[in-house]
């Protein structure tokens, strides 16, 4: 090594390392984005958190664990599955003495279920979504004693689509997963 080369070397070496680093970084960006882009186009991505009503065990954590002050999980009522019973397992607590609207008789803690007489002996039930807190007590009642027409779903217009759903991390039955757009609601018909 001549003296002249030795003097020049630090700059040249740094520049060489810099170019090498740039090449590696550029290559990494190209390969990662190319590979993932190819795969992203292959299938529709799963972006929406939703509850599978078949798996849900109404543990009650949807009410308490959502990042929103009032959970984005709401009770949904499938009228076409409902039996329109007078003694509704979702509306009344078990062992009620009288079928009236006294709060101690009702399952819903917020009074979100509205009951309307249709014709003898049928009653129509409607969920007032603004009152529902997603606790799933009515769902448990309806699933155990009735047709299972009440069930929990994440309301897509309320959900913030967190990258990690906080309810999913504590969901006892693993019912909350990411689904594709056409599965964004899993409705009972």
């Amino acid at each position: 090594m001549t003296n002249n080369e030795n003097k020049k070397s630090p700059i040249a070496r740094r520049k060489f390392l810099q170019t090498l680093g740039s090449a590696v970084a550029g290559g990494a960006i190209l390969s990662v984005s190319g590979g993932l882009m190819y795969r992203a186009k292959r299938q529709e991505a799963t972006l929406y958190w939703q509850i599978d009503p078949q798996k849900c065990t109404q543990c009650g954590r949807c009410e308490t664990h959502c990042v929103l002050p009032i959970s984005a999980v709401k009770c949904i009522h499938a009228n076409k599955v409902c039996g329109y019973c007078d003694l509704c397992g979702g509306y009344y607590r078990s062992n009620v003495k009288e079928l009236n609207t006294a709060a101690e008789n009702l399952m819903c803690p917020t009074g979100a279920i509205e009951r309307q007489f249709v014709e003898d002996p049928y009653f129509e039930y409607t969920i007032n979504e603004s009152l529902c807190n997603g606790c799933g007590k009515c769902v448990k009642g309806c699933t155990s004693f009735g047709n299972g027409s009440l069930y929990l779903q994440i309301k897509r217009d309320l959900c913030k689509d967190c990258n990690e759903c906080k309810i999913a991390t504590v969901c006892a039955s693993g019912a909350i997963t990411r689904v594709a757009f056409d599965m964004a609601y899993q409705l009972k018909e």
Binding site: Q18, G21, S22, A25, G26, I29, V32, S33, G35, L36, M37, R39, A40, K41, A45, T46, L47, K55, T57, C59, V67, L68, P69, I76, N79, K80, V81, G83, Y84, L87, G89, N95, K97, V118, E119, Y122, E124, T126, T143, S144, F145, G146, N147, G148, Q153, K155, R156, D157, K160, D161, C162, N163, E164, T169, A172, S173, G174, A184, Y185, L187
Partner: protein, 423 residues
């Protein structure tokens, strides 16, 4: 009536839980119509397109302002827009910082389908970092922007403390990737300190932590970006070798120290005259020794250490916790089942099927923990070597890995305020 009720209730209890249609569909005689309730899924595509366009636009503005114009003002404007739009309006998800985990999971697991928007959120800031430096950090990232906007003073920590604290983002990143690829948890999202502030609600502890970070950010620049942000760590790699780099001034440096004092992230290194005169060849030999003896030792130690605690780490995974609960229950059955066990037995789960999943996760954890440990060793080793290397500098130099391109130094540089013809 009462008797009838009791009869109905006892009948109900007799029916199995899973049975549907216990009651037949009613035959309405009054001409009752089923109410027509439809549930719409709001199509997010339009908003995501706006997000991506704005992301590119804001990063371009910062790149233009810092590289071409050398001014700070547009960066402030970008910060305000970003905090308002990405922060408060879009309330954070999905962000580039969190997207690291989705990318890691997608690379490790073929079955995970990555949304294109998440890929763009991840790759665009990396690409811009590769071209122009950390222009994303400057003000496009709502978290960085929020800290930038509240910052008033730049109290500096000592060099060693800063170097040690700068290891945390790397370790955070490594753990985030470890937990993401094993499908355990997205810890970056779970412990995001600012999301609660943007959403004005959420976990109280994290909001307090976020508020504390903001108070700290008033007195020292961007504590989250420097000492916690895992994505910033990743971007720093690309910024170090970026094609175009921020320059404080086009004119020669006069060593006035003003830029160094103005820098909120301590990314401008002062001139340094090495007191210990070591011959060049001796210095090179010392560094080479570090790299071939010390570094592999650190990597090996890290790998062994992390592998040995992999089964403890795996308890972050839900299925592993469930398996432990089931095993405990089978060995000593309890009367009151926890909600998880109730759900597990309710769905007809068997311990054999669960054990298979459990073993798979344990295997994954053993493999990935070893890699993670090696990387932690590498990061620690590099930090320590970096502390022992003292490079002679004749003037103030930007450390491009740590520079977040906020552009505060430009207006402090007296050379920049000279008129064109004054030189």
């Amino acid at each position: 009536m009462k008797k009838l009720l009791i009869a109905i209730i006892s009948l109900l209890f007799a029916v199995t839980v899973n049975a549907q249609n216990r009651f037949p569909k009613p035959d309405f005689e009054s001409g009752y119509q089923y109410p027509d309730i439809t549930y719409q899924v709001p199509h997010e595509t339009a908003w995501i397109t706006v997000d991506i366009i704005l992301l590119v636009l804001l990063m371009s503005i910062v790149a233009w302002a810092t590289l071409k114009k050398r001014t700070h003002k547009p960066v402030v404007a970008v910060s305000i827009i970003s905090v308002a739009y990405f922060g408060f309006f879009r309330s954070g998800c999905v962000c580039s910082i969190g997207s690291v985990q989705n990318i890691a999971l997608a690379l490790a697991d073929d079955t995970y389908i990555l949304p294109l928007s998440v890929l763009l959120f991840f790759i665009l800031p990396v690409l811009f970092a590769f071209l122009f430096g950390r222009v994303f950090c400057a003000g496009v990232c709502p978290m960085g922007a929020l800290q930038e906007l509240v910052n008033l003073k730049n109290y500096k920590l000592s060099k060693t403390v800063t170097a040690m604290l700068r290891m945390t983002p790397w370790i955070y990143l490594i753990f985030a990737i470890l937990y993401a690829v094993t499908r355990s948890s997205f810890i970056i999202c779970r412990f995001d300190p600012f999301i609660g502030i943007f959403r004005m609600g959420g976990d109280l502890g994290l909001i307090l932590f976020g508020a504390l970070l903001l108070v700290a950010a008033v007195f020292t620049g961007r504590p989250f970006c420097r000492f916690l942000c895992p994505y910033g760590a990743l971007l720093s790699l690309f910024a170090q070798v970026s094609i175009w780099k921020v320059q404080i001034t086009k004119r020669p440096c006069i060593n006035c120290e003003l830029c160094h004092n103005a820098c909120p992230v301590d990314a401008i290194k002062p001139p340094y005259d090495n007191k210990i005169k070591e011959t060049r060849i001796k210095g090179v030999k010392r560094i080479v020794n570090y790299f071939i003896v010390f570094l592999p030792l650190m990597i090996f130690a890290g790998a062994v250490l992390m592998r040995s605690i992999s089964s403890n780490l795996s308890r972050a995974n839900k299925d592993v916790r469930l398996y432990d609960m089931v095993v405990q229950h089978e060995s000593a059955p309890q009367d009151i089942l926890s909600l998880e066990l109730e759900a597990f037995y309710g769905q007809g789960g068997t311990i054999e099927a669960l054990a298979e999943i459990y073993n798979g996760i344990q295997k994954d954890f053993r493999l990935y923990s070893t890699f993670a440990g090696a990387l932690i060793g590498l990061v620690t080793g590099f930090t320590l070597i970096g502390l022992s290397v003292k490079r002679t500098r004749k003037q103030y130099e930007i450390d491009h890995a740590n520079c977040v391109a906020c552009g505060r130094c430009f207006e402090y540089c007296p050379q920049n305020s000279l008129k064109q013809n004054e030189l």
